[in-house]
């Protein structure tokens, strides 16, 4: 059946929902319900995480195809099946989702005080949607999970968010939905052409060149909003600023990866001609994103907005890497995505730590925290450096591999795409200096407490991952090496075939 011997992926996907059902039936006074909901959610997510570790152990890195495949008949008359499986590109995203969920639940332990049960329920549903999306091997299944993610996230921002939460939630929902509608059209067109929505089959279907361009643009509309690419990025800062801390962590950690994952899963391998032709467009948008949003980040006065803009810049590096379509570029993009998932998540948690104490995200309200919070200063430094891309942290590997990949395409792409190296250092250090350095001038800061044991427990796995990915990155990249190499070869073969065709026809 599959390497695990039981329907592992379905279990990982649906178990959180089961935990959610249990939480729904918790009764009692408010405090009991809240406490039970917290513990139930934490245990559910931890069990799911442990189950997902089976993927880490049993995944065969030498096999470039899908593994742990499970299949059930769903709508046979339409060629649609319930089919799950992971390959080198998706397996670590499943793990990223299952690893970040317990961290988020732990981070919300004290910060969320109202409607705790519903909050935890939303997070568990979110986990189901995320895992299902990354594990889907059928386009329709993918699409349902892809859209399903919106609902719990919309609620998390809209109910537990800050003062402008309704505006932010609506903006988030409408931006992403507007793009997705076009993807639905593309899905229908593909189904119409190929007669199936099975992803492995679609990967080997050759779509006509003109159709590829239209499909590519439709995908672009959906994925670009999710990434987000310039100029459809403005929903992100608002969503981040209003979302509760854990919401921001998942948003930056996993949701932003969905767009880039879509490019890697659909656009690049299924539409090789369009990807090659439209790569310059993607490069242009990405380079603008890197420079533009880095500069905008420099001007921010709100901590969360600054980190949100830095996310857009980092994702710009990812999209550059993906469309270089060489092994270093794509591998770098993969690494940058995972690293960004961990580091930006950690940075949002860092903001959450001081926000929980002082209840403001205004940078000017802080200063001199090194004095009272040395452990916090150390952690913040580590994650800031990882965000800047210091060698030895996870941030460096992806950024550098993308640089190497981009260099093989064009010198200017490499140079401009790497300007984030300088600008990133500027905005992160400027942020760090205003918050951590200086003298304490305010009374509430003078009494501020350093990290609690619970917060340490939240950060510990992120610290380990940041350093581990920086010092021994090959233990992660080995998962996707074979898949990415195959993808690049497949792409080159597809391009070569067209060139041959073009030279044959006129004769």
């Amino acid at each position: 059946m599959n390497a695990a011997g039981f329907p592992l992926l379905s279990l990982i996907t649906w178990l959180p929902l089961l935990g959610g059902l249990i939480i729904m039936y918790v009764r009692g006074d408010e405090a009991t319900v809240a406490s039970n909901a917290r513990w139930a959610a934490l245990w559910t997510s931890l069990i799911v995480f442990v189950l997902s570790l089976v993927l880490w152990v049993r995944f065969d890195p030498a096999d470039p195809g899908f593994q742990f495949i499970e299949q059930a008949s769903w709508l046979p008359q339409w060629g649609i099946t319930y089919k799950l499986g992971v390959d080198g590109i998706s397996v670590l995203f499943v793990l990223l989702s299952t690893a970040l969920t317990p961290i988020c639940i732990l981070a919300s332990w004290e910060a969320i005080k109202t409607r705790v049960r519903e909050y935890m329920l939303a997070f568990l549903i979110l986990e189901t949607m995320m895992v299902g999306m990354f594990a889907a091997m059928d386009f329709v299944v993918f699409y349902m999970f892809f859209e399903g993610v919106l609902i719990p996230m919309y609620l998390i921002i809209g109910i537990w968010g800050g003062p402008r939460r309704v505006y932010a939630a609506m903006k988030f929902f409408l931006f992403t939905l507007a793009g997705s509608v076009l993807m639905l059209l593309a899905l229908l067109a593909m189904w119409n052409f190929a007669g199936t929505t099975d992803i492995p089959t679609l990967l080997h279907t050759q779509f006509p060149a003109s159709m590829q361009t239209w499909l590519f643009l439709a995908f672009l509309a959906s994925f670009a909003v999710k990434v987000p690419m310039w100029p459809v990025h403005t929903w992100l800062p608002d969503a981040h600023v209003e979302a509760p801390t854990a919401g921001s962590v998942i948003l930056a950690g996993v949701l932003l990866k969905m767009g880039a994952y879509g490019f890697l899963r659909f656009s690049v391998p299924m539409l090789p001609l369009a990807s090659a032709h439209l790569a310059p467009l993607m490069f242009a948008l990405s380079v603008v994103a890197v420079i533009y949003t880095s500069l905008v980040a420099l001007a921010q006065t709100d901590m969360k907005k600054l980190i949100a803009y830095s996310s857009v810049a980092h994702m710009g590096v990812v999209t550059i890497g993906i469309f270089t379509i060489n092994v270093q570029g794509i591998s770098g993009a993969m690494f940058q995505m995972l690293s960004h998932g961990i580091v930006s998540g950690a940075l949002f948690l860092c903001v959450g730590v001081v926000y929980d104490r002082i209840h403001t995200r205004d940078i000017a309200r802080y200063g001199g925290l090194a004095d009272r919070m040395p452990a916090y200063a150390l952690l913040f430094m580590l994650f800031a450096m990882a965000s800047i891309g210091l060698p030895g942290t996870s941030g460096f590997v992806g950024e550098f591999l993308v640089l190497v990949g981009a260099f093989q395409v064009n010198f200017w792409l490499a140079l401009l795409g790497s300007l984030g190296m300088i600008l990133g250092a500027a905005y992160m250090l400027w942020l760090y200096r205003r918050i951590i350095f200086g003298r304490i001038t305010r009374d509430d800061l003078r009494a501020i407490l350093d990290l609690s044991p619970r917060e340490m427990a939240v950060f510990a796995p992120l610290v380990v991952l940041t350093l581990w990915m920086g010092i021994y990155p090959s233990s992660f990249s080995v998962f996707w090496d074979a898949t990415v190499s195959t993808m690049v070869e497949h792409h080159q073969a597809a391009l070569a075939a067209t060139v041959k065709l073009a030279t044959v026809i006129p004769q």
Binding site: Q300, P374, S418, W430, V478
Partner: protein, 645 residues
């Protein structure tokens, strides 16, 4: 094995002091870091001696895979050859002395987190050792950025001072500008050679001679582009003109930091990179010409600025900048051995100078302005003597270490027989005069004349404790003898045996040989101008103290130009920093808020308005509805009749 211990012992010390420093206390943290450093220097020196005596052979110690992506494969590995062994020995020794000195210097730190300071110092030492012992460009870059981080932390050690925070940030960001060039250079090396391992790259130098790279609308030889890109990285780290602005500000850090990072080790990383990459660079004459030009210009520029500064540490900082220029001149004319030789001697005498300055500052109750010193040479005789030793070595006075290495560079510049080489020669000769001048200006202003400090400070002037003076004495031994001791092996007749494969030069490069045959006046010039510089300083500041003021009054624009360091900071503020700030604000407020968000918000507003208008039609009156239906019917029928028949 010894070699690996030498490199990782400081990391251990740093980790213990950094993570448990608060728990174990300052004294234990100091003890741990210093023990680790002593172990490292013992191992480092033994590894060097073993290699040079032929007991062990050069090789690579592999530690495991680092980054892997397709054909891009990078290992963690330590390269053990003459170049890395000499650097490891020097770095561990100087760093150990500076650790010990810091016990005394930091004893009265108001911050009460001395463990943090020692942890940073050891972290820095580790990163520097990784840099010099790297076996591939990416690991070198790891050390390169690691020293950048450590220097950021150390410059910002007194984080509550706004100036320290600003200086730390400036140092990191300016370095990052250079690092971008470096990173692109690494990518191009991979693009050209298909690997970034030193052994693979250097072994394939012959095969890619004609490789071309197309950039900026022209096609260049790939080696030239590699050389330029790597040198841009070196310019940042080694504070060459244009990217030097961070170094003087970095004096905000405690003085031992300045000695360790901004004199002996980190800033010389760029020079080291040039020497390490000599097998490729030697085939890139255009890039080398650029290196010489920038180095020579920096040597002269920094020396002119050094003549007008009043902060004792800033004078020495500009002096460092200038001496780094000398090293790049040497590398640029192909005398990589001479550049490393000067790097070595400079490490000793410049660390000595900085630490002596620290001893002065310590004695003067943390005063750094030379205008408020004077008349203290009898009170701190040992410090005074050490300052003399350091300056004699820096000034290139015979038989002190600087004499051997600096003269070699000036001769090599002449012997290169190229136009840019001669530019380098004249710049370095003038800089030699200015070097001697500002060095003795520093001595006279600091120690001689009438005391200009207040009564209270003068009462407290005292010689530093032994924990500070003993490192000074040991560094002084190096400053006196290092040149004499290593001259023959490093740049003399035995250089091939000494360096082995660590420095490979092209067959056409015989500058080391040619510099033995330069005309007599070329060899004599540095000494003559040096003595002239000393004499001028005595005339200006001791015998006729009115001259400097009169000169400044006669040429006010020139004086202000030098005092303001050629207006580099002002230029950058006007041309880069402020425009970027405006641009950032503009992109945010106009680009994002007004334009990009304006469109969806506008559509939303339009929809809302529109629907509130439409609502008005539904007023509940049957007559209005019936009328609307009638109009609709007429319209539909007309359309049907007109178009669809």
């Amino acid at each position: 094995m010894l070699f690996a211990v030498a490199i990782f012992a400081p990391l251990l010390g740093s980790a213990i002091a950094g993570l448990f420093g608060k728990a174990i206390g300052d004294r234990a943290a100091m003890a741990v870091t210093i023990l680790c450093m002593l172990l490292a220097s013992g191992c480092g020196v033994s590894a060097f001696i073993e290699l040079e005596s032929g007991d062990t052979t050069a090789g690579v110690i592999s530690l495991g895979t680092w980054v892997e992506a397709g054909t891009f494969h990078v290992d963690w590995a330590l390269r053990y050859d003459a170049l890395s062994a000499v650097m490891v020995a020097m770095v561990t020794c100087v760093a150990t002395l500076i650790h010990i000195y810091s016990i005394g210097y930091m004893a009265h730190d108001e911050n009460h987190t001395i463990w943090r300071f020692f942890s940073y110092l050891s972290l820095f030492s580790f990163a520097m050792l990784m840099l010099v012992s790297a076996d591939n460009l990416l690991q070198l870059f790891f050390g390169w950025e690691g020293v950048g981080l450590a220097s950021y932390l150390l410059i910002g050690y007194w984080y509550y001072r706004p100036s320290a925070g600003a200086a730390a940030m400036k140092a990191f960001i300016v370095n990052r500008v250079g690092d971008l060039g470096f990173a692109l250079g690494i990518a191009l090396v991979f693009f050209t050679f298909g690997s970034i391992d030193f052994s693979t790259v250097f072994g394939a130098v012959g095969q890619h001679q004609d490789a071309a790279y197309h950039v900026l609308g022209h096609t260049y030889r790939a080696y030239e582009v590699i050389g330029i890109l790597l040198f841009i990285g070196a310019m940042g780290k080694s504070a060459q003109i244009g990217l030097h602005v961070w170094l003087p500000d970095a004096m905000e850090g405690p003085t031992p930091v300045s000695a360790l990072i901004h004199a002996a080790t980190m800033v010389t990383a760029g020079v080291f990179l040039m020497a390490r990459f000599s097998p490729v660079l030697d085939y890139a004459p255009g890039a080398l010409g650029f290196v010489t030009f920038i180095g020579a210009t920096t040597a002269l520029f920094a020396a002119t600025v050094g003549c007008t500064q009043t902060d004792i540490k800033r004078v020495i900082a500009y002096s460092t900048c200038s001496q780094l220029g000398y090293m790049f001149v040497a590398a640029g004319v192909g005398a990589y051995q001479a550049s490393i030789f000067h790097l070595l001697t400079h490490a000793f005498f410049k660390a000595l100078l900085f630490l002596t300055a620290g001893s002065v500052i310590h004695a003067m109750s943390d005063e750094q302005d030379m205008r408020k010193m004077g008349g203290i040479w009898r009170l701190i005789p040992l410090t005074y003597t050490m300052m003399w030793v350091g300056n004699l070595a820096l000034g290139g006075i015979p038989f002190f270490s600087g004499y051997y290495s600096k003269d070699a560079i000036i001769e090599a510049a002449w012997a290169s027989c190229s136009l840019v080489g001669h530019y380098g020669f004249w710049c370095t000769v003038i800089a030699a005069f200015l070097t001697a001048f500002y060095s003795w200006r520093l001595i006279i202003l600091t120690f001689h004349g009438a005391p200009r400090a207040d009564h209270h400070t003068m009462e407290h002037v005292h010689e530093s404790p032994a924990v500070m003076t003993v490192p000074l004495l040991l560094l002084a031994v190096g400053a006196v003898f290092a040149g004499w001791a290593f001259h023959d092996q490093m740049i003399g007749p035995d250089w091939k045996a000494f360096w082995g494969d660590a420095i490979q030069i092209a067959a056409s490069n015989h500058v080391l040989h040619d510099m033995e045959d330069v005309p007599g006046w070329v060899s004599l010039t540095p000494l003559v101008v040096g003595l002239a510089g000393i004499a001028t300083a005595y005339v200006f500041y001791m015998f006729v103290p009115g001259i400097p003021g009169a000169l400044a009054a006669a040429f006010p624009w020139a004086y202000r130009f030098l005092l303001n360091k050629w207006y580099f900071d002002e230029l950058y503020a006007a041309v880069i920093i402020r425009p970027v700030q405006y641009l950032a604000q503009g992109l945010w407020q106009i680009g994002d808020v007004t334009i990009i968000d304006g469109i969806p918000n506008g559509i939303a507003a339009l929809t809302e308005d529109g629907s509130s208008q439409v609502v008005k039609i539904q007023n509940g009156s049957i007559a209005v509805y019936a009328f609307a239906m009638l109009i609709g019917l007429v319209l539909l029928v007309s359309i049907f009749l007109l178009f669809l028949r």
